[in-house]
């Protein structure tokens, strides 16, 4: 009985002799079967498979733009402005914009800031949310009072309003150079700062629920430390509800980025993003150059749709009760 964790597991396994092989961690076993069930269920759905292919495609585009175009998106020739799509075989398959920039090159290079921003924002939001939610749900008392109040304060400020306020103040300082990370730094900080609350709320509720289950009590009685209980026993259960939120959240950040860039306060020129392309393409749509709006719009819609479809199915797979 030196290892409190395994002792707790034995105490639990006696409760369910048939469902769990003795000696294995019941939490791990449960979560594993939940996950493998979910994956098996998702793999069988054509909509999920198609959505995943699209999502992976755009992620690859964002990661390796050179695979898809060899044209420098910044090399624009005004004499070649507003060329309509020439499709494959032509010099500008998707045409050019009003400055003569190659639209395909812009689209391909515009994927990176949106997706990188989305992943960065969601990653840090989850870290902050899960940490605060776990601490609040586990310790309750003043920790919970503070965390809950902070959540409430952040929740009443709509994400978009906060982003508008703070990012509009940044306007004067056009960051130049420093690569994609520097480009997305400002929106990333603001969107993360106002995007972590839902994870904290979910995790807090889930911790409150799990905390009094018998196996956690057993682990505690056997002397497991707070951190061991939190990370080994409580978090694995809480994490599934959070995971289901992630794809939808990624879609949300992508669409928020488009709005902010459209307004000129997200990713800023001379960097390229779909939001910026939408902004410049919008005014040319009815002037006979619909491609300048439609291509970025279709890319944006496809990306968001694919993440939403994955998220929706994931939520169902991890919470089969409501199917």
């Amino acid at each position: 009985m030196t290892d409190p964790g395994s002792a707790a597991n034995i105490a639990v396994t006696t409760d369910h002799p048939q469902s769990t092989p003795p000696g294995s961690d019941p939490v791990a076993a449960d979560t594993h079967s939940l996950w493998s069930d979910a994956v098996r269920q998702l793999r069988r759905k054509p909509s999920v498979v198609i959505a995943s292919v699209i999502a992976v495609f755009f992620v690859v585009v964002a990661a390796f733009p050179s695979l898809f175009t060899s044209v420098d998106p910044g090399a624009c020739n005004v004499s070649q402005a507003k060329i309509r799509p020439q499709w494959f075989g032509g010099q500008h398959p998707f045409g050019t914009d009003q400055f003569g920039c190659d639209l395909l090159a812009q689209l391909v290079n515009g994927a990176r800031p949106s997706l990188l921003l989305a992943f960065v924002v969601v990653f840090f939001s989850v870290i902050i949310g899960v940490t605060l939610g776990t601490l609040a749900g586990f310790y309750l008392g003043w920790v919970d009072a503070i965390v809950s109040r902070v959540i409430e304060v952040f929740l009443v400020i709509p994400l978009l309003l906060a982003a508008l306020l703070l990012l509009s103040l940044f306007r004067q300082d056009v960051s130049s150079g420093g690569g994609t990370f520097a480009t997305i730094l400002q929106p990333a900080i603001v969107l993360t700062g106002f995007g972590w609350m839902s994870y904290a709320r979910y995790v807090r509720a889930s911790v409150l629920e799990t905390k009094h289950l018998d196996y956690v009590t057993a682990a505690r009685v056997l002397g497991a430390g707070d951190f061991r209980i939190m990370f080994r026993h409580i978090l694995p259960n809480a994490i599934s509800s959070v995971t289901a939120l992630i794809p939808t959240a990624i879609a949300g950040v992508i669409s928020a980025e488009a709005v902010l860039s459209f307004l000129g306060i997200g990713v800023r020129p001379p960097s390229i993003s779909w939001g910026i392309m939408l902004n410049s393409g919008a005014e040319w749509f009815s002037g006979g150059y619909p491609h300048m709006l439609l291509f970025p719009l279709i890319c944006l819609m496809l990306t968001i749709l694919s993440f939403v479809v994955i998220g929706d199915n994931l939520r169902d797979a991890l919470d089969p009760k409501l199917k």
Partner: protein, 338 residues
């Protein structure tokens, strides 16, 4: 019982005021930090021109940013905060670049936002409740699946994308056709006007409102469906059926009544989303509403207006959330009034 409900409401309102105070501190602290890191936003007033020191000082003073603390990074600027708080309490929300009172601007804009939200609320209640209930009733069958596809599509079309398509792809040809067929002042033509018209505020608000409402209905459909499903097979509903009550009464008095509780609690969060959506909607459709004012202020770097309008919209959010809590307390007797 009544006294406890009243006490609860009072407590909730006081709590809301505290939250508002904390929110204002947070917003103030963040804006201060950004200004300190980023430089004087009054510079934007001059655009590309280089102002003289005296001009800059004058504009800075008008924005209430003429405190030295704004150039000391890390200084929380407590003094100016309470100064601004005092001004807000007196109803003074500052002026825009052209010297027009923000309260005046918002005063003329608020009615249009209100109208927009009337349309939005109607869409939420009709589409959200109907589709959610139907989906719950037909769980697992074709109707349920199609409603689900619809709600995924709604989710996948953020209001921004929806409006871009509507404004640039749909309105121009439809409006042109309607104008030639019925005249440019006909209702149909107005309905599909690509931008807001103050003279025909209702007609030009309906479709933007529909689209904004639609953008929020996906969560309502899901919520209503989940809440009704949970109750549909609940033990207490089985009890009601065992009493020989008709299915109609069981549905209205036991399923819908009980599933209203989780749906109401979610209204607050959907509302905050919709407020963000309203900024985009009003901005893109040139609607002279509070969101439109904010959108234009952001475009023109009118910092003072942005801060004032965001503060007002935050107050509105808090009021809505308190309202939600009160309705919740009235709906669910299990809530403890402490």
């Amino acid at each position: 019982m009544r006294a406890t409900v009243a006490g609860y409401i009072l407590r909730r309102v006081l709590q809301g005021i505290l939250t508002l105070f904390l929110v204002m501190i947070l917003l103030h602290w963040l804006t201060t930090l950004v200004i300190q890191l980023n430089g004087n936003p009054a510079l934007a007033f001059f655009g590309d021109r280089i102002p003289t020191a005296a001009q800059l000082a004058a504009v800075t003073a008008r924005f209430g940013l003429d405190n030295t603390c704004y150039s000391q990074t890390g200084n929380p600027c407590i003094g100016p905060f309470f100064e601004r708080l005092g001004q807000y309490l007196r109803g003074d929300f500052g002026t825009n670049f052209r010297g027009r009172e923000v309260t005046d601007i918002v005063g003329s804009a608020a009615p249009n936002t209100l109208k927009l939200f009337v349309v939005v609320t109607i869409v939420w209640s009709i589409v959200g409740l109907t589709l959610g209930s139907v989906a719950a009733r037909t769980r697992g069958r074709a109707t349920d699946t199609s409603i689900r596809v619809v709600s995924i599509l709604i989710d996948a079309l953020p209001i921004f994308v929806l409006l871009l398509i509507y404004k640039y792809v749909v309105t121009v040809p439809v409006n042109k056709w309607a104008s030639s067929k019925f005249g440019s002042d006909s209702f149909v033509a107005l309905l599909f006007r690509p931008s807001f018209s103050a003279d025909h505020s209702w007609a030009t608000l309906i479709i933007p409102g529909l689209l904004l409402g639609l953008a929020g209905t996906a969560s309502f459909i899901r919520l209503v469906r989940a809440a009704q499903l949970e109750n549909y097979n609940a033990d207490h509903v089985r009890t009601a059926r065992s009493k020989g009550l008709g299915e109609g009464r069981v549905t209205v008095r036991h399923i819908v009544r009980n599933s209203a509780i989780p749906v109401v609690t979610a209204v607050g969060f959907v509302f905050t989303d919709a407020l963000g959506g309203a900024v985009v909607t009003e901005g893109l459709m040139n609607i002279n509403g509070m969101g439109g004012v904010l959108w234009n202020a952001v475009r023109d770097s009118e910092t003072a207006v942005v801060i004032a309008v965001v503060t007002m919209l935050t107050v509105l959010t808090i009021v809505v959330m308190i309202g939600v809590d009160i309705v919740y307390a009235l709906l669910d007797p299990r809530i403890r009034y402490d």
